[in-house]
């Protein structure tokens, strides 16, 4: 075991896979010599060479298209899109091509591409460096969509993603790259070394895609969340003194419905929380699925906590961010509802 932050854990996952499988290649803007703007690919080009870790032109559509072609030719590409906000030029290649290649060719062709991309706000990124577009990809048939909330899961899920023969869009909440952030920007930063999930095996292991993680067992209410919001929700429930069951979804697609349903059938109350905008967001899918399966067990309506349905504003970042107060308000409402 070693102490790792999320950047180191993700780097370790790619290091291990580059070493294990000569077909693994990494490509993206600034990922090679420089090691990535967030340093996630630091040292990998030096170790594995310029043909395994490729700096690319600033052309996200080209990066993903090239990765698809490489995947069809037997490689296992890991493409980095520098910010999730920059992914849209590649949207057609992801949605029309990568997601559907296996389907349209009846299984004859596939491209085992992993697309890593940092997402989320809280770093003074403004509206072009703060988005959480996981719902946009979860809506597309044929993509697996992943978002870890801690170093241990990040490494194990990224190794699973790289080994997966299906395409995976892998979102990395950049606010928690260096430490678990509880939503209070005025508190001093906390490093991952203070968190049990900062203990990461140095070698190979996997965390399965398609399984939720019950972060905390409890009986009062179920909080279904992922990414940075896992830590915000934990803090909010603690501040209210609630015995909350907190579930980290971890993989949006495929969704582990069973774990969610078992929990909500037990607690009878549920809050869904994510940082992405609310309208048409992934939280709506979580909420609807849980309602369909748990309606007769519910003591209160399922509430959603999310970012406002506006772009992510630079100067009002913390008014936008769904912090502890917004989560706590939803929890109070759900708890006060009469059975």
């Amino acid at each position: 075991m070693a102490q790792m932050n999320m950047i180191q854990a993700l780097n370790s996952a790619m290091d291990i896979m580059l070493g294990r499988d000569p077909g693994v290649v990494i490509l993206g803007e600034d990922v090679g010599f420089f090691g990535g703007v967030f340093r996630v690919t630091d040292g990998l080009q030096r170790k594995y060479g310029e043909h395994r870790v490729l700096d690319t032109p600033i052309a996200e559509g080209g990066i993903v298209a090239a990765a698809i072609g490489m995947g069809v030719n037997g490689l296992r590409p890991v493409a980095e899109i520098q910010f999730a906000d920059y992914i849209y030029p590649a949207y057609d290649q992801i949605v029309s091509e990568l997601a559907r290649l296996r389907y349209r060719s009846a299984g004859e062709f596939f491209a085992p591409v992993t697309i890593r991309t940092p997402c989320g706000g809280g770093i003074r990124g403004g509206q072009t460096h703060s988005q959480s577009p996981e719902g946009v990809f979860a809506h597309v048939s044929g993509l697996k969509v992943v978002m870890p909330s801690n170093p241990y899961d990040a490494k194990g899920l990224l190794i699973s993603a790289i080994e997966d023969d299906d395409p995976v869009v892998f979102f990395e909440p950049k606010r928690i790259y260096n430490g678990p952030f509880d939503g209070d920007p005025n508190k001093p930063a906390v490093p991952w070394s203070t968190h049990p999930k900062g203990d990461v095996p140095e070698g190979y292991y996997t965390v399965p895609i398609g399984k939720c993680d019950v972060v905390r067992e409890g009986g009062d209410v179920t909080i279904v969340t992922y990414g940075t919001m896992v830590h915000v929700c934990e803090a909010a429930a603690r501040s209210l003194g609630l015995d909350a069951e907190i579930i980290d979804v971890r993989t949006m697609v495929p969704l582990d419905v069973e774990t969610l349903v078992n929990s909500v059938q037990k607690t009878g109350r549920c809050v869904v929380a994510h940082e992405a905008t609310r309208f048409g967001g992934y939280g709506g899918e979580l909420s609807a699925t849980i309602q369909e399966e748990c309606f007769w067990h519910l003591e209160a309506p399922i509430l959603r906590v999310a970012g406002w349905d506006t772009p992510y504003p630079h100067a009002f970042e913390w008014e936008y961010f769904p912090g502890q107060a917004r989560v706590a308000a939803a929890l109070r409402t759900v708890m006060e509802a009469a059975a």
């Binding site: 090239a66 030719n73 057609d92 596939f110």
Partner: protein, 412 residues
């Protein structure tokens, strides 16, 4: 002072007018130099503006690009083009008879796919658009298999998921046709990059129409191919038409499409796309260049879309009815036929006999294909196949939806 102005590209001729192809910059056969494959791009920029032609107006092969193919090879090329055309004609009629939903002919462009298919190695990976069915003919895919795809029947390679003509063939090294334009262009570059990373000498070739070169994917492909000097041939089939929009709206008025190459530091060649020998020769040149590490080539094939865009299109609404007959570069089948006759290796009688043989082969193939069902007649594919291949293994939510469909159908 002149006011600013907005230029609207001008159509060469509209319905009822006499076709005017004077906008084309042509050159006589044999006039264009053939540089060595290792020539630096900067030393052959002119190729992008000239026109490689081999078969002259007297049906003789002339000049430095003559590939000197043996007559039997030329006869095979003619046979492939004629089979492609016979297949297209019959499939067009079957669509009109209501047997299939859609078709796209390659009339007038057969030399592009056939000559290029023959000039490449079987292990080279092809990323075609929807008008290179000749590649399947060259690589020997039985017509029955293609027809079953058109029919979405029980032997449809796409399991009923794709519009007709969107074939794929892994074992024949032909990539799946998307339907979204130009997406395959940068994918072919990625494939070629991987070939180079793996250290093989296989190359990739890909095709789009000139209209599709307007897409961002074209730019991505050109950029990645030139940056990494990928072993790939990027073909722009300039058949002058993107449905009803002529090539001027894709930027063809002011510069040839081949000239996009030198802008990226890439070899660019403009070739008479209806000249089987010229297309073969430039493809061999570009392939050897790519295979030997000298980088990618963009080839513009100057040709003409002899038929409608698709069975859903009526070109009489936007272009003269007789324009294909007046196309100055002729018909690729006729030109190769006349060249073979000129060589003393072919005759009108043999040609007629071959045309009949091709028709009979197509008819027999169709008869077999429909025994496996049609879009509307049994036997039919199991609709539950729609849930397969979304992922490698079916996840729970799709299993659940498949069960819902099963229940829904049981109630009927």
């Amino acid at each position: 002072m002149r006011p600013s102005r907005l230029h609207i590209p001008k159509h060469h001729s509209r319905p009822g007018e006499t076709p005017d192809f004077s906008y084309l910059e042509l050159a006589p056969a044999g006039a264009t130099q053939r540089p060595d494959i290792n020539t630096r791009v900067r030393d052959m920029n002119g190729l992008a503006f000239e026109l490689v032609r081999v078969i002259d107006d007297g049906h003789t092969a002339v000049g430095p690009w003559n590939p000197h193919l043996d007559p039997p090879e030329l006869q095979v090329g003619l046979r492939h083009m004629m089979l492609t055309r016979a297949f297209d004609d019959r499939m067009q009629r079957m669509q009109r008879a209501g047997k299939t939903s859609f078709y796209m002919r390659s009339l007038g462009e057969e030399a592009v796919a056939v000559a290029q298919g023959m000039a490449l190695r079987p292990t080279d990976m092809l990323f075609p658009s929807y008008r290179q069915q000749g590649l399947y003919v060259v690589r020997g895919r039985p017509l029955v298999d293609l027809m079953c795809q058109l029919l979405s029947n029980t032997r449809d390679m796409c399991k009923g998921r794709q519009l007709p003509i969107m074939y794929h063939w892994r074992d024949g090294n032909i990539f799946s046709i998307s339907g979204n334009l130009t997406t395959q262009f940068p994918q072919a570059v990625g494939w070629a990059m991987a070939a180079a990373i793996k250290g093989t000498d296989d190359i990739a070739a890909t095709w789009i129409g000139e209209g599709s070169s307007a897409e961002a994917d074209f730019h991505h492909a050109m950029l990645f191919a030139s940056v990494y000097e990928a072993p790939v041939i990027l073909n722009v089939v300039n058949n002058q038409w993107a449905i009803s929009t002529f090539q001027g709206f894709a930027g063809g008025e002011h510069r040839s499409f081949a000239a996009r190459g030198p802008g990226f530091g890439m070899a660019g060649l403009r070739v008479d796309g209806n000249d089987f020998l010229a297309v073969y020769a430039v493809t061999r040149w570009a392939a050897e260049r790519a295979r030997n590490g000298f980088g990618p080539t963009i080839i513009e094939h100057v040709t003409y879309r002899g038929a409608a865009h698709s069975t859903s299109d009526d070109p009489a609404r936007y272009r003269p009815k007789d324009d294909y007959e007046r196309w100055p570069l002729g018909d690729p089948v006729e030109r190769l036929k006349n060249h073979l006759i000129d060589l003393g290796e072919w005759s009108e009688e043999r040609h007629a006999a071959l045309a009949k043989e091709m028709d009979e082969h197509v008819v027999a193939s169709w008869k077999e294909a429909v025994t496996y069902g049609t879009l509307t007649e049994a036997p039919r594919l199991d609709a539950h196949l729609m849930f397969e291949d979304v992922f490698k293994e079916m996840p729970e939510h799709l299993k659940k939806q498949e069960a819902e469909l099963r229940a829904e159908r049981a109630e009927k």
